[in-house]
């Protein structure tokens, strides 16, 4: 005998795990690309072992002479271990929390970037030391470091864009009857629009931009000024969002146009109001991924709109008057069934 749930009761989403094979497929080849980049660089470095001195400069505290030295073998090993660590981290994020396409894209891009960054750092550190016997004064040009950080962003973004998006997954069950509804007359149209901006994350961003600028100027490594410029762009994109609930569903979009996401009305299982604690729930502010792959647009502590979606996905946005948005979204989701 099969148990049938009472009509009207919220049924568990039977496809809640459907994203897992999708996430494994999406992470397999970006992890391989990142590993190949790191491994390739390690092999190139290994092929240089005859030309490298017994101890290579491995650490610089400022713009001056090196203050850390390692044997070439140990140096390459450290890089390989860091590469394994970072690739494992991104693989874990992608396959364990990648229920949303945006998370899989971030993790895939992160794998490729870390492989590229480590490969570039390893080779740019060792290349100038080939054929030297005294490495006590060896210097790495500042723009090499900047390039090692920034150039791998290009393949990372390309790979992120190649990760397929979420396929349409309309809900089969009705919207949770216990969730709040908005009083709309038949045929009446409605839209709820809010802006959410600022918050403590913006102060963190301003601090990071200030520190990286001061460091770049203090050490006169002008190429490193690209870092605060990039951070400024990132923080402008991450700390002003428009939130819209209309007949198409929920749309959250940065004031810059990116990043953003859309939850179609027919994929909404339930919208409600929740309380967010940025650190406990998401580990910080901005576009975040929390437990169970929940995506958070977290600008501050407190009131937030929570949308539970088909295929085990959920989205949280910290926004005022979330109760109005949640009620309207449930009502419009009813209509989309």
């Amino acid at each position: 005998m099969t148990a049938t749930p009472p009509t009207g009761a919220p049924r568990p989403d039977t496809r809640a795990e459907a994203w897992r094979p999708r996430a494994r497929r999406a992470m397999a080849w970006p992890t391989a690309v990142g590993a190949l980049l790191a491994l390739g660089a390690a092999l190139v470095a290994w092929s240089w072992s005859d030309e490298l001195p017994g101890e290579v400069a491995s650490h610089w505290s400022g713009a001056g002479a090196p203050d850390g030295f390692l044997s070439p073998g140990a140096f390459v090993l450290v890089f390989v271990l860091v590469a394994v660590g970072l690739l494992t981290l991104f693989l874990a994020i992608g396959t364990r929390a990648g229920s949303a396409a945006s998370t899989r894209r971030l993790a895939a891009g992160g794998s490729v970037w870390s492989g590229g960054f480590l490969a570039a750092s390893l080779l740019s550190t060792l290349a100038p030391q080939r054929g030297l016997t005294d490495v006590s004064q060896v210097m790495i040009p500042g723009w090499w470091t900047a390039a090692a950080l920034l150039v791998p962003l290009l393949p990372a973004v390309a790979v992120a864009l190649l990760v397929p998006g979420d396929p349409a997954a309309p809900a089969t069950a009705p919207v949770d009857p216990g969730a709040p509804r908005a009083a709309l007359r038949d045929g009446e149209r409605a839209v709820w629009l809010r802006r959410t901006a600022g918050g403590p994350g913006l102060a963190v961003g301003a601090g990071a931009i200030l520190v990286t600028s001061v460091l770049a100027v203090a050490f006169e490594t002008w190429a490193m000024l690209a870092i605060p410029v990039l951070l400024a762009g990132l923080f402008v994109a991450m700390f002003a969002f428009t939130v819209r609930v209309d007949a198409t569903g929920l749309t959250v979009r940065s004031a810059l146009g990116w990043p953003g996401t859309h939850v179609p009305a027919d994929e909404v299982l339930r919208a409600s109001v929740t309380e967010v604690s940025p650190f406990a729930d998401f580990g910080g502010w901005g576009w975040r991924v929390g437990r169970g792959g929940r995506v958070g647009v977290v600008l501050r502590r407190g009131e937030a709109l929570l949308v539970e979606r088909t295929e085990g996905r959920s989205l949280v946005v910290t926004v005022h008057d979330a109760a109005t948005g949640a009620a309207l979204l449930n009502t419009l989701a009813d209509r989309a069934r």
Binding site: E188, R189, V191, W192, D246, A247, T324
Partner: protein, 123 residues
């Protein structure tokens, strides 16, 4: 804020939008300096012609509620009266609630009641 449009309603569509901005100001949901959504965004979401939204915004500008600036969009004017003190607002809302009770008891239609209010206001 929440915007709603009832195509089956008696009021013209643009007038429905105008009324909602006035109400939001009266309830303190909108305040001076706040930016209203871009006309195109509002029109798309409510399945309206953009000119309907623009007409509503222009009507509100003519009333001194909005300032329309190129590039900045529609902004609630400083003189729009959104800075109504909470006590004043509560007093008006309470009086309106009393009026509604009396009008319902007398079986007056919404139209007749608002006409009475308009007449009283213009005296």
């Amino acid at each position: 804020m929440l915007w709603r449009i009832d195509p089956a309603g008696d009021e013209p569509l643009y007038a429905q939008l105008v009324a909602q901005v006035r109400l939001a100001l009266a309830h303190g949901e909108l305040s001076p300096g706040e930016r209203l959504p871009a006309a195109r965004e509002l029109a798309t979401s409510l399945e309206l012609n953009m000119h309907t939204v623009l007409r509503a915004y222009q009507t509100l500008r003519d009333e001194g509620v909005l300032e329309l600036r190129r590039g900045r969009g529609a902004v609630v004017a400083a003189s729009a009266g959104g800075d109504l003190a909470a006590a004043e607002r509560a007093a008006v809302e309470q009086a309106v609630a009393g009026l509604v009770v009396a009008a319902r008891a007398a079986r007056l239609s919404t139209e007749t009641t608002t006409t009475l209010v308009k007449e009283a206001m213009s005296r």
